[in-house]
């Protein structure tokens, strides 16, 4: 049972994985032009010259004035600095016919930098300079130095530079361990929402990683351990920013774009519809642009519609239909399959090169059409059906010549059909409204016309029933038919006829009041809670006396029974007890008039304890006396 669950989970995950990602962000031709413009800015120093010249060469553009640039490089070169040599060497290699003079000292300086004591950045610069200048270098030494530096400086940028350096070394060197760093670095990428994959160090690091990984993989001819989805997520991250803060950032994006459009393993494919993805009888071709990340058309690609189905009915229209390439754009005559108007889900596959990544694309295509109104019949029907209906047919876009009269005994009815102009298929657009406009008062009432089961639209106006919408105002109303839908190319607003409605006059309001929504409303007066009605003072006083009267009765009864205080002993405890007790009763009165519970409890504690002690003593004495008396 558990095995079955596991197996089904595996199958399910495989099925879900086949839903490949497609790039949500990519560079358009304007973006590429902007990138070129940024890199073509006049350079101020050797570093910016390097970024501009090498960046533009990656985009396939060569600097206009090569000699001028070469002279600039040579004059700004500092032969005692490895960094300066690196910039100069790389830039001069990108220019044709530019030579940097190399002395033995230069060569020794560069070779000496290749050691475990230099930083990864310094090793990268010296190795690149050596290889650009055509000087020999010992690859194995470089490899061991790089390995030592990677373990010492474990940050992302150092490892990326190590990868770049390794791609300049001889193919016989043992680059296996450095190659494994690609996988380790890929694991350090942050996945943002399943859409983006980037380093926390930023865009530049991510772009440099991509270009370094692919250049090393191409150099050793081994596929980089990046899954297709990861490649697309990297594309989204790198090309989501369309304006770059610094020259180095623009350079990194240009290198990444160049390596993604031209490497031996993964070439992401960007598919976009030319204009809106919509076809109609006037524009029957669905045109797609299929390019690489640098917006260069893919010449070896062949585009195929694997399936196209209607969104509403899910019925398949096309299967395995090829696009034809014309002027760099792939097009398909979709209207030739005579689709009904609506939305269609296309599943497009781009084949032709095993390197293509994200070559299955889902597109939503809209098929628009023009609508025609047929058989518009207007009639006035008597409610008791005694007189037969007079039907008038009106042709679009003319207006009925005579106006129609309807009062409370009659219904006004309208029927029509909406069909596709070319195919004659019945349509049910989203908006079919009937609008009645009173030209004199400016009132407007809108109703919806509903289709029945045979797609015939009906509208009936019962004057008696609908008088509230019209505020019972009789008069001439212009009748308009409004038809609209996202898939209609010709929305319709047609003044069909004039209708004279008669309501019973006594119900009509005297003047028509425009709906006043924004006038100040009447002020709300707050009603405070009324105090409850008290009974008259006489009644209260009478009942107070009544309630107190039993006390008198008590005194009389006690007197009659012979109550006395003859046993009153004048001992201190007795006096103290009685005083304390009186004080407690007094405290109760004061509590009622002035104090709160906390204060009362405080005083009660004091008085109460005194009274208790005195009372205890007094009662003990009494008990002794009682027992003695026995």
């Amino acid at each position: 049972m558990a095995h079955l669950c596991l197996f089904s989970l595996l199958v399910l995950s495989l099925v879900l994985e086949t839903q490949a990602l497609t790039p949500t962000h990519h560079l358009t031709t304007t973006d590429v032009a902007r990138l070129q413009a940024v890199l073509s800015q006049p350079f101020t120093d050797l570093k910016s010259a390097y970024y501009s010249v090498v960046g533009l060469s990656k985009l396939g553009i060569f600097v206009a004035d090569a000699d001028e640039t070469c002279r600039f490089i040579n004059s700004n070169l500092d032969p005692s600095s490895v960094e300066s040599l690196f910039y100069a060497a790389e830039a001069s290699q990108a220019l044709s016919g530019c030579e940097i003079p190399v002395t033995n000292d230069t060569r020794d300086l560069l070779l000496a930098t290749v050691s475990e004591d230099s930083t990864a950045s310094q090793i990268h610069q010296s190795v690149s300079a050596l290889s650009a200048l055509g000087l020999p270098l010992a690859s194995q030494e470089v490899v061991s130095a790089l390995k030592a530096r990677i373990s010492k400086e474990d940050n992302v940028l150092a490892i990326i530079l190590a990868l770049q350096t390794a791609s300049r070394l001889s193919q016989q060197a043992e680059l296996g361990e450095i190659l494994e760093e690609i996988e380790d670095l890929a694991a350090r990428l942050d996945d943002l929402g399943g859409v983006y994959l980037q380093f926390e160090e930023g865009l530049e690091a991510t772009a440099l990683f991509v270009s370094a990984a692919y250049s090393l993989s191409d150099h050793v001819d081994m596929e980089p351990p990046l899954k297709e989805d990861q490649v697309i997520q990297l594309v989204n991250s790198i090309f989501s920013k369309k304006s770059w803060d610094s020259l180095s950032e623009a350079f990194s994006v240009a290198s990444a774009a160049a390596s993604l459009s031209n490497n031996r393993f993964h070439v992401p494919v960007i598919v976009s519809a030319q204009g809106p993805a919509a076809v109609s009888h006037s524009h029957p071709f669905l045109q797609l642009q299929v390019t690489d990340v640098l917006c260069q058309p893919l010449s070896s690609a062949s585009v195929l519609v694997e399936s196209a189905s209607a969104v509403a009915s899910k019925s398949a229209i096309l299967s395995q239909a090829p696009f034809t390439l014309r002027d760099g754009v792939f097009e398909l005559n979709f209207m030739a399959s005579q689709p009904a108007s609506g939305y269609y889900q296309f599943s497009v596959a781009i084949t032709g090169d095993s390197r293509f990544v994200a070559n299955h694309v889902e597109l939503k295509v809209k098929v628009s059409t023009r609508v025609a109104i047929n058989n518009m019949d207007l009639s006035v029907v008597d409610k008791d059906q005694s007189i037969g209906p007079k039907t008038t047919r009106v042709e679009y876009p003319t207006k009925a010549k005579a106006s129609f009269m309807a009062d409370s005994h009659q219904n006004f009815a309208m029927t029509f059909q909406l069909v596709d102009e070319t195919t004659g298929v019945e349509l049910t657009p989203h908006q079919t409204f009937v609008r009645l406009h009173n030209q004199k008062t400016g009132q407007e009432v809108v109703f919806v016309a509903e289709p029945d089961s045979k797609n015939l639209y009906k509208f009936e106006l019962d004057t008696a029933e609908r008088k509230t919408e019209f505020d019972s105002i009789s008069g001439t109303y212009a009748l308009y038919l409004m038809v609209g839908d996202a898939t209609l190319e010709n929305p319709i607003l047609w003044n069909v006829a004039d209708v004279v409605l008669k309501f019973l006059d006594e119900e009509a309001p005297g003047t028509i009041q425009a709906k006043t929504l924004y006038v100040p409303k009447p002020e709300i007066q707050h009603l405070f809670r009324e105090p409850e009605k008290k009974p008259p003072t006489v009644v209260s006083n009478a009942f107070t006396a009544l309630v107190l009267s039993p006390f008198l009765l008590l005194l009389i009864l006690w007197f009659k029974l012979g109550a006395n205080i003859s046993n009153f002993t004048l001992s201190p405890s007795t006096i103290l007890f009685h005083i304390g007790h009186a004080a407690m009763l007094g405290l109760m009165y004061v509590y009622w008039t002035h104090l709160n519970m906390f204060q009362t409890l405080k005083y009660l504690a004091i008085i109460g304890s005194l009274t208790f002690l005195a009372g205890n003593r007094m009662l003990a004495q009494k008990a002794v006396k009682r027992l003695d008396g026995k």
Binding site: E532, F543, S549, P550, W558
Partner: protein, 113 residues
């Protein structure tokens, strides 16, 4: 029928007058007083109205509470019940009576408003 009821009542009254000690009679007078006070308060509430309701409640509860405490005192003091209250002397009963009244009046005065 009414004859026997009348004779029972007169017999009861006679017994009461003769055999009840004075102390208990005094407590009974007190009980009558409390009862009448409560009844008059209730009468006011029925006739005139429940405003203010909290005052009526506190007064009425005070009467009820006092009545109950006095009944307890009477039971504990009664010499005929001595066997049931071996640990409680009359003085102790009276002290309890006073203490309970203090608590009752604290609550009543709090509620009377």
């Amino acid at each position: 029928m009414s004859n026997s009821v009348f004779s029972v009542i007169s017999r009861f009254v006679e017994e009461y007058r003769s055999s009840t000690p004075n102390k208990l009679k005094m407590i009974d007078a007190y009980l009558l007083y409390i009862l009448l006070t409560g009844v008059f308060q209730f009468l006011y509430c029925v006739l005139v109205g429940t405003f203010p309701f909290n005052s009526f409640l506190s007064g009425f509860i005070s009467c009820v509470g006092s009545f109950i405490l006095a009944v307890c005192l009477r039971i504990q003091i009664n010499p005929q019940n001595k066997r049931d209250f071996l640990t409680v002397s009359p003085e102790r009963a009276f002290a309890d009576f006073l203490f309970a009244h203090t608590v009752l009046h604290l609550v009543v005065v709090n509620f009377v408003g």
